[in-house]
């Protein structure tokens, strides 16, 4: 059956009946578009977060009193560095600075004596900038922060109010690259001593300690050692963070999908209705083919091929539109749902498509579509020629 003239006939009939399929393709494309844009968006954010998480330290040591994170004493760093199997122990100083009730930024202090952070900084700044950064009291700011400063008439420097009541003027050295806006939009990078002053930490205090464990098999063991190091120690790991993010995204995406299933069920009902109302023209077509000697099996094959083409066509079109909407038009409206409103500048979504997501969309759609149209299609294909032509 599957020979050249069959396919010729198939294409002809597909073109001739394109009006009949128009409504079906439109509504299916819309449904695919909705799902694919949500999944593209969440995949892109997930990808950015995961690639950022890869750079995160393996373990973080904090001190918690009654659930609150409190500053650590610096001297503990040397004890941790002596544990076997631990590398790149870094002191970290960070905290949130509230400009007013609504707007806040993350302040991050960089230690220049620390090899790793100075390397990372060297990537952001060239040599001259680095010199200026070290010699004067200056900062690197994310785009969101910079826009805030500009709108409040601080285009060159900002006067921070320290917890002790003093005013600290800090120059703006550079605005960070907008490609990393998801993380750096509300970020201020400062030399560590300056950051301590603005955040109200004493000179021997730090926020927490980050460290790496090159051999993953030892991570659990080292975690136990760290927990025994001092009272109220709280150790968190990278893997736990990955799991938390995964669960968070599953929650947002899953909630959407659970509601979306209702849409899919509606689609299947519409399709069932639409296919059940096969007009007399279609029945007559089937009748003519049967009287020309086509078997029911051939007709079912033709109809199956027709519907598979429809599925593939609307799937591709819907995906294409979803891609356009998310990565070219930057997903207006939808991005606010995912990211919240506190980000004030545009975020660059890195085009990243997870093939499993594509498979997910396709399976959901193909199963629904084909199951819904199966019975009506069979009914049309088995129409008796005598019934249809009379």
């Amino acid at each position: 059956m599957l020979n050249n003239s069959f396919f010729y006939f198939f294409t002809l009939s597909l073109f001739k009946n394109r009006k009949r399929y128009f409504a079906i393709v439109t509504i299916s494309t819309l449904v695919i578009f909705l799902l694919s844009s949500v999944l593209f968006l969440s995949d892109s954010i997930k990808y950015s977060i995961n690639s950022q998480l890869e750079l995160e330290p393996d373990l973080i040591v904090q001190k918690r009193l009654g659930g609150r994170v409190v500053p650590l004493d610096e001297s503990i760093v040397d004890t941790i560095a002596e544990i076997y199997g631990v590398s790149q122990v870094t002191k970290r100083v960070y905290g949130r600075y509230y400009f007013d009730k609504e707007y806040s930024a993350l302040i991050f202090g960089v230690d220049f004596l620390d090899e790793q952070s100075s390397k990372a900084l060297a990537k952001l700044l060239n040599r001259e900038d680095l010199k200026r950064f070290l010699s004067s009291e200056s900062m690197l700011v994310g785009e969101g922060v910079f826009n805030y400063f500009k709108s409040h008439f601080y285009p060159k420097a900002y006067n921070f109010l320290t917890p002790s009541g003093k005013i600290k003027s800090v120059k703006i050295l550079k605005v960070l690259d907008r490609r990393s806006n998801l993380f750096s939009n509300n970020l201020i990078i400062l030399p560590q001593e300056l950051a301590k002053e603005i955040l109200g930490l004493k000179s021997n205090e730090i926020s927490d300690i980050a460290l790496n464990v090159p051999n993953p098999d030892e991570a659990a063991n080292i975690q136990r050692k760290l927990e025994g190091l001092f009272l109220n120690a709280f150790i968190s790991g990278k893997r736990e963070m990955q799991k938390e993010y995964e669960n968070l995204f599953n929650y947002k995406g899953g909630l959407f999908l659970a509601l979306y299933l209702i849409v899919v069920m509606t689609l299947s009902l519409i399709l069932y209705q639409r296919y059940s109302l096969a007009n007399s023209l279609e029945k007559r077509e089937v009748a003519i083919l049967r009287s020309l000697g086509w078997s029911i099996k051939d007709l079912l094959g033709l109809k199956a091929l027709e519907n598979i083409m429809l599925v593939l066509f609307s799937f591709t079109l819907g995906l294409f539109l979803g891609y356009l909407y998310v990565f070219i038009l930057k997903a207006p409206l939808l991005s606010e749902l995912f990211l919240g409103k506190n980000l004030q500048t545009q975020i660059e979504f890195l085009p990243h498509i997870d093939y499993l997501s594509l498979a997910t969309i396709f399976i959901l759609y193909a199963t629904t579509f084909l199951s819904a149209v199966l019975i009506p299609v069979w009914r049309v294909a088995t129409t008796e020629p005598k019934e249809a032509l009379s």
């Binding site: 299933l261 029911i296 499993l356 399976i363 199951s371």
Partner: protein, 321 residues
Amino acid sequence: MNPLFLNNQVIVYLFSEAALLALTILLFAKIVKFLWFWDFRSYSNRQLKLEKEAYLAMTIATLLFTLKSVLLIFFVHTIDKLSLIIPGAMCAAGVISANSYGMDLLFIKLTVIFTLLLFLIANSYDLQAKTYPLFRFKSWVLIIASGLIFIEFFLDISYFTHIDTSTPVSCCSALFGNLEGANPLPFGLDITKLLLLFYMLYLGTIIALTLETKTITLLTLLLFGVIAYYGVVYFFGTYIYELPTHKCPFCMLQREYYYVGYLLWGSLFFGLFFGVIWVIMSQVGYNITKAKWASMLLLTLFVALCSLYVAIYYSKNGVLL
């Protein structure tokens, strides 16, 4: 609520399985009607209607076969992804053995695909002969298939509801690898004997298929299936991973190994399927040489692929693992 049920893939997977279950229930009802009322010599209205409905059953079975095959691959991928949120798991092996339903579920899935394939082949021969000689046979095959799909759906639900995301599971090297000296192989075999048996059973299968001896073919096919599974997990797999301690049937399905697992397991299972189908079909009077050749070809491909990994490793490194 179990956080797994918010995972996109799990939702879509269970939804699709439920949609297919609805079709299966319809199919089952039709088949029962066929077995009850089918009388090809009758010219009654009912018989004519039944003959039309037979086409519906056929279409549903074709759709089920296609979508179940796709869903099997999707399922394996999904549980592989789930290893991120289940503590201790590093690939699908850990997740699938998170509870006792997992392995049964995989086995049932393969059996469902096998029975549906058997139906499709029987059906195509049945339609060629104008008098539906195989009608009762293929109906019973579908009854079995739908029964298996009911069990499969039950296992699907049980499997996903019984995964606990707080208790750690084992990773594949703990499941298959370091068993502290205990011999994981059946019948007290060691690796040399296993390999000997592997190649001998392969040869035996090919000879039995060539000589068309049904009982021996069935026996060698089943034994070869078991031995091939152990052979891949405990010997050939280590050459795919190029690591003597990495023993896992699932990791080879991942991108790091160029998805070779699909080709490997696919050629093994479909080789076995076609072989068994040849035996069953010749039992009902149809000697399908195509199925026989397909079986021999796929099994040969499987054995060649396995051996090739070992040969390439040896030629590169000059030693065996």
